[in-house]
C-alpha cells in the first residue's frame, strides 16, 4: 500500500509530468487560458491515461514478450486507436460529455504525456495496480499544473505587461516559476 501511495505522489508532484519532465506542454501552453477548459482538458487526459495504462499492461503481458522491437509502434497504434474508439463511444453514449471534451480528445493522441506514460510504465515494469495508480497520479499532476497555470493566467490577463512579453514568453516564465516551486517537493519522499 505504501508503495502505491509513493507512486501516486511521485507522479503527481515530485516528478510532475508537465513542470518537471516537460511532457504534455502543448495543452499546457494551448488551453491554459481559462480554468474551465483547463479542468476539462485535465479530465480528458486522465481518462485516456488510465485507459492507456490498461492497454499497455495487456500489451506488455501478452503481446510484446514475443516481439519487443515492435514496442513503440504497438504503443502508438494502440493509443491512436483507443482515442478514436473512446471518441466514438462517448459521442454515442453521452453527447453532453462529448461536447465538454470536444476537440481535446483527438488532440490527446499526439500528447507526449500519454506515450511517455506507456514507456515509463514499461521501463519500470509496473504491475497492473501500480500502472493504474501511476496513471491516476500523472493525470492528477497534469490537472494540478493546468489548473494552477490557468488561474494565474486568468488574473494576469488584467495586469499591465509590456506588449513584447505577452503570449508564450510570459506563459513560459510563469511555468518556470511554478517549476521552481515544484522543485521544493524534491525531498518530500526520499526520507519516507
Amino acid at each position: 500500500m505504501g508503495d502505491l501511495t509513493w507512486i501516486f505522489f511521485s507522479a503527481m508532484v515530485v516528478n510532475n509530468f508537465t513542470l518537471m519532465l516537460f511532457l504534455g506542454l502543448c495543452p499546457f501552453l494551448g488551453v491554459s487560458g481559462k480554468i474551465e477548459t483547463a479542468v476539462r482538458m485535465a479530465m480528458a487526459n486522465t481518462f485516456v491515461l488510465v485507459l492507456t495504462s490498461l492497454a499497455v499492461w495487456v500489451l506488455n503481458t501478452f503481446v510484446l514478450t514475443h516481439a519487443p522491437y515492435l514496442r513503440l509502434i504497438a504503443f502508438i497504434i494502440v493509443i491512436a486507436g483507443l482515442v478514436q474508439i473512446v471518441e466514438m463511444v462517448i459521442k454515442k453514449l453521452s453527447p453532453v460529455l462529448f461536447r465538454a471534451l470536444g476537440i481535446y480528445l483527438p488532440l490527446i493522441t499526439t500528447n507526449c504525456a500519454i506515450l511517455a506514460l506507456a514507456i515509463f510504465q514499461t521501463n519500470r515494469s509496473y504491475t497492473f495496480a501500480e500502472g493504474l495508480v501511476f496513471a491516476l497520479g500523472s493525470g492528477a499532476g497534469l490537472g494540478l499544473a493546468l489548473a494552477l497555470m490557468a488561474s494565474i493566467r486568468e488574473s494576469i490577463e488584467l495586469a499591465d505587461v509590456p506588449a513584447v512579453c505577452r503570449g508564450t514568453a510570459l506563459v513560459l516564465m510563469i511555468a518556470g516559476s511554478l517549476s521552481l516551486a515544484f522543485m521544493g517537493f524534491a525531498g518530500l519522499l526520499s526520507s519516507g
Partner: protein
C-alpha cells in the same frame, strides 16, 4: 532615387501571394529562420525543453529528429498517391514510428551514454508535432524532392533552436561548452539553468528576444512605409 529601394524590396514578396511555385532553395531555407519550427511556429517544445541541458544532448537529439523527419517525409511523399485520405494520419504515425525505432536502435549502439541520458525522449520523437505537422502540411501533397528539402530545412531549423538552448543552458549552468571548461575553476555554475526551471526560463528569454526582434522589424517596415507615403504625397 531613395524611394525606389522600398519598392524593389516589396516586389519579390508580391508574387508569392499568387502562389508562384517556390524554388528549391526557398523550400530549404524557409525552415531555418523565417518559419523556424520552434522559435516561430512554437512546435516541438517538449524536446526543446527536456533534453537541452547540455550541448552534446541537444546535438544528438537534433540529429535523431533530423533523420526521422527527412526519412518519413521521403517515404510519405513517395507513397502519397497510395495512402487513402481517411487513414492518412495513422499511416503517417506508423511510418514515423518505424523511423524512430531505427533511430533509437542506432543511438543505443553508437552513443550509449547519451542515449541513456536522453531516456524516453528518443522514443517520444514519435509524438513531436514538428514531424507530423510537416507530413500533413507538406510531404502529403508535394513531390519527393521538395518534401525532402522542406524536411531538411525544418530539421536544420530545429537543430539551430536546440543548439541555442543547449549552449545557453550548458554555458551558464555548468560553465562548460561540449564538456570543455570555459571560465576556470572559480566559476560558480548557475545550477538552476540545467534543472527543469532553467529550461522554461531560457526558452522564455529566447522567445522574448525573437518577439523583440520581430517588433523592431515591424516598426522599421512601418516607418519605411510612412516615409514612402509621405514622399509619394509630396510628389503628387
Amino acid at each position: 532615387m531613395s524611394t525606389e529601394a522600398p519598392h524593389s524590396y516589396d516586389a519579390p514578396a508580391a508574387p508569392t501571394r499568387v502562389r508562384r511555385p517556390p524554388s528549391a532553395q526557398e523550400d530549404l531555407v524557409r525552415g531555418f529562420w523565417q518559419e523556424n519550427p520552434v522559435l516561430i511556429q512554437l512546435l516541438g517544445l517538449c524536446p526543446t525543453l527536456a533534453v537541452t541541458n547540455s550541448v552534446a544532448n541537444s546535438l544528438v537529439m537534433a540529429i535523431a529528429t533530423f533523420f526521422v523527419l527527412v526519412g518519413s517525409s521521403l517515404l510519405v511523399s513517395a507513397l502519397r498517391r497510395w495512402i487513402p485520405n481517411e487513414v492518412r494520419i495513422a499511416s503517417y504515425i506508423l511510418i514515423i514510428a518505424t523511423f524512430v525505432t531505427v533511430a533509437e536502435m542506432g543511438l543505443q549502439a553508437l552513443v550509449p551514454t547519451i542515449y541513456k541520458q536522453l531516456g524516453a525522449f528518443v522514443a517520444l520523437i514519435v509524438v513531436n508535432c514538428i514531424i507530423l505537422g510537416r507530413q500533413e502540411a507538406f510531404a502529403g501533397r508535394n513531390p519527393v524532392g521538395r518534401s525532402v528539402l522542406d524536411a531538411a530545412g525544418m530539421g536544420i531549423g530545429f537543430t539551430i533552436a536546440l543548439l541555442i538552448m543547449g549552449s545557453v543552458r550548458e554555458v551558464l549552468g555548468s560553465g562548460t561548452f561540449l564538456g570543455v571548461s570555459l571560465f576556470g575553476p572559480r566559476y560558480e555554475p548557475w545550477v538552476i539553468m540545467i534543472l527543469p526551471p532553467g529550461g522554461f526560463f531560457t526558452l522564455a528569454f529566447v522567445l522574448l528576444t525573437v518577439a523583440w526582434w520581430k517588433q523592431r522589424q515591424a516598426q522599421k517596415e512601418k516607418a519605411g512605409r510612412v516615409r514612402d507615403a509621405m514622399t509619394e504625397g509630396r510628389a503628387a
